[in-house]
Symmetry: D2
Subunit: 345 residues, 4 copies
């Protein structure tokens, strides 16, 4: 943190040849200081290779070269046992088009590699969406009839994470304790993401811009698009988040990612109960009861190698004046507001 | 349906000795005509027997006498293969107190009868909530510290259902295709619930008033309280809903109830896709894609014998002027507004 | 129990019009005394209506008229809180043919009603098996090439159960705490099945003869065939088995039935640990450890509304001279041997 | 393969400082030629650090330094897209003692890191087993009473795998498509394990000697002990096994590892159906039917980060004279018999 004049966002556009395809396993592309502000270009999950309804994924994409990550970034001062706070200041569509697709044997309403069976695949298809940034909308065009529908832009990052624990290196489609491909609409401008640090520098990266998505990423793909994203970071020393925590002005959240889906639910909610109990000084029983009556629970994805649920507790229903995670969110939010103000936003 | 003058709600208070403890298996307590309006007293899930923090469930309740149902009602004209529409006009707390409890080996963050293990139970406890109807709030009082918190009243029925198919009789804690103990906050005033009819008269009942609940009913109990509930019904001939559908002014919804939780998700979303595709004339692929970008997905419970997820699609993102379920909701909504107007609400 | 001369098996062939299609919900077809021996004809799961490869299930069977049960039988002296012991003395194919089928959207390698999706169904098909009783074999004939294979007869009952608890009535395809459609190959001649009694007389029934089956009933159907089955019963007063227990000369077993499959595993194994700990006087920790090193775990079905796993502990690895369930199995086994001897088996 | 005189097993004892703690991520410790025979010392899963009942895991072991792997070995000629065959010739206990333990929040009958909750942990305990190699037995000693029981030695390796696909590096407790910590009793002397090759040299390793285990590894630990293991390898060019296959003299098998447990079942059985259909020239429907009636399905573990099920089809029930995987097992078995013969076994 700094008391110096508002930091300026520094633009960083990564060479596509250096994109990361795993969490862990890459040398850092760049070092970042706590409080520094980055203005990043983030490629879409198809690496920009699906640009028409004829670009079928099976022809355009070769696994595992899907979901390129911008990063990893080495955060100075971050050591194993600390927590990295990444605050998203701005998450803006970088293009006037976006794309979605039905990928063979991927999605929640089909057999998959893991929920395996003998049935034929659903048809592989691609949809192009037109973006109207001024109206803050995009347009869905049906492929098989002349229906179209304008939908609000609600941009977020499907993927953000750090190098995993236990020397693991995980594919960029995986969400787990290190964050990753959670596909949570809460990873949006104004949110701070807390991730336990497992290796020196944390080595965080992000990708998978979503211009909009229903909950659960039902078919396996959101409205996928490249982003211009401004963020800043801080390190919380000596505190280790076991599972990803999010904070915005209104709420605190925990993301649980595993299978079956009820285990993702159990992780998210037990972590939320323990967090509140420890920070707010309520007993475990009282906290369990209170959380039961106030928490909302968002299904982030039911399609990735692990499923994700985000448990959310509104701050207004919790004991007042708790500096959640030491008050980091408020400080980073202040930086963010300054950055946006200097940009006339 | 009727073109006669607005029906008056008829008050019906069931003898507690005749409460139903299963879906199916009971003779009807009363006959109802389509368009008739009922004003019901509905007891809480603890049969009103937990009234202080000392009334521990293990002492106060003997399984299976938990979650008493008001009903069942025989709806005239309802035959197997039809669909019953129940429209909730008003769902009002009937008491100035409510209660929640941690029941032994029940809830999402403990081992249970089914997710069985060898660990000790969590502590059994009861919380009393004070209701301030004028402020539309209730108050949580911590048991083990002096913390209290006011929370908004958001009343709904955890349980509503009809007699099951295949000659089954199910305990009132179970949600499945017949509805039942879904614990969905969407079963509230202003919502129409569509349930496939399996036996003559449908034999619907309801119970389990919740003054407020977080999503998932995390600890296994909401803020439980008796309700005064006004409703009306209609029968849709020759159409059979395989799984419960809900409709309010803004959205159409499907409830899926099974385990694991991803199967509840799959049921709800595949049914929603099929419903929209059939009603709106979009292809299955286009509908699957559209639903993926617009549907929200609410976790209703992760504690009952089956878990429930409700998939919701906003009507404003669907083809216009579709008379969902034949336009029943709008007609019943009109009756409901008239009833409320005559009551000065 | 009786010290009188060996009981003679009494032949009972039920009128097909009176078959039971649920557990619970039927008046008893006949009363049985403890120690009495019944010699039953039991129809196959398709009610004998599939007799050629052209008899596709979707044309031959109308749900829920599948899996007819012989019974229910009222066992004299059985009261809620007791346990019924059913000992299978002989389970013999009643026909020289049997049948299997792939039913639409049913089976472990396809989407189903519950693991729902949008894919097309797998092909519906029927296989006829020829039975060679003398050789104790049956023959599989491939439909789409000229391959045939002789396989050993290993007859058992897929379904056996009592009326459920909590006033429930369950479809005959369901396994749960009351037994039911467990599809366990351990329900064979020489095994005693223990079922907690929920209603006066217990009201047990059985069906679903399987001439042979792989573990898990992978495609959803075994080699299905009618049976001639000899059994006897006893009542254990004041002891209630929460989940079905089995015992043969070598082993004790517990069947757990629920979803997901790991919950069936958890039920079966936690019940087995508790049973052994209570009966053998080992501590819970020691029993948990011992069971971990000696128990085998058979997957019975991964296709029914609940999945079933049977945990088995060999008696030779447990403390000696424990009269499991009061020694009922040994006594019924003696009756069984006498019956078989009088029949020259 | 070689026509040269029977290879002699070459003894290799790895420096503990070089043990591998992940699959992938390590440089090879040694190169191996196809047909070469290795005689390895393999440390137990606790790295030999638990040697008394007082050596509690929480004090003796620091995650992730659990389950050390011997290897990885670089197999000459193995390229991505090939399959590595590892044939276990001999798997012998290397010590006259072994150990098991209840680890905090690990095991199938307790809440865990993933099936998370708020309950207290089960007691942490350690059992020492005495090995009587001459009798081929080991002895369980109860901790909390004076019960002891002799059990047969049935040694196998809980863990064997190659470097994962998609640039992943996985913790040694994980089973997945690359093999790993499957905990399958079928990984024993006389079995050939087939693993798809993802990186040059395959980089296989093995560990986790189990002197005996019940199915499912119920409490989370087998009777854990160091092994002396003799094995040989071969490379099958141009054939890639998506999931681990096993073969012994009697059966072919597939291991599926994921959550929930039914997905492990689905993977194993759909892979088995596809393998047989492709190799034996039966149609998919006929194979699905045949597998349903002949396959047995062993639960390997319900405790690791992924659960494992092994589907097994006896060769005698399959079309004759199919050279499964090109007949590799028979060739390696011949090498194995020669090695054992030269050792007087």
């Amino acid at each position: 943190m700094t008391d110096s004049p508002a930091p300026l966002a520094e633009r960083f556009v990564q060479d596509p040849a250096s994109y990361a395809w795993t969490f862990g396993g890459y040398d850092p592309i760049r070092r970042v200081k706590p409080g520094e502000v980055l203005d990043l270009f983030v490629e879409d999950c198809f690496a920009g290779r699906i640009r028409s309804t004829a670009d079928l994924p099976s022809k355009s994409i070769e696994f595992p070269f899907i979901n390129p990550q911008t990063g990893p970034f080495y955060v100075e001062g971050a050591e194993p046992g600390d927590t990295l706070a990444v605050h998203l200041i701005d998450v803006r569509p970088a293009r006037d088009w976006a794309v979605s697709a039905h990928v063979l044997f991927f999605g929640s309403l089909t057999g998959t590699r893991y929920t395996a069976g003998l049935q034929e695949a659903l048809p592989e298809k691609v949809w192009l969406y037109r973006v109207d940034a001024a109206a803050n909308e995009l347009t869905f065009d049906a492929l098989e009839s002349d229906f179209e529908m304008r939908l609000p832009l609600e941009p977020f990052h499907g993927t953000i994470g750090v190098a995993p624990a236990a020397f693991e290196v995980r594919n960029v489609l995986v969400p787990e304790a290190f964050g990753g491909n959670m596909d949570s609409p809460d990873v949006k401008a104004g949110t701070t993401i807390y991730l336990g640090v497992n290796v020196p520098g944390a080595l965080f990266s992000l990708g998978d811009g979503h211009y909009r998505m229903g909950e659960g990423e039902v078919c396996g793909a959101a409205v996928e698009g490249a982003m211009n994203t401004i963020l800043t970071v801080e390190v919380i020393k000596g505190v280790y988040c076991e599972w990803p925590r999010f904070e915005d002005d209104d709420s605190i959240m925990v993301a649980g990612s595993y299978r079956p889906l009820e285990d993702a639910f159990r992780i998210a909610h037990s972590q939320l109960v323990k967090w509140i109990s420890a920070s707010a000084g309520l007993s475990m029983s009282d906290t369990y009861q209170l959380v039961s009556q106030i928490a909302t629970s968002r299904i982030a994805n039911v399609v990735d190698p692990n499923y994700t649920i985000v448990a959310r507790a509104p701050k207004r229903f919790l004991p007042r004046d708790i500096p959640w995670m030491g008050g980091v969110h408020d400080r980073l939010r202040t930086i963010g507001r300054t950055v946006l103000a200097t940009q006339g936003r």
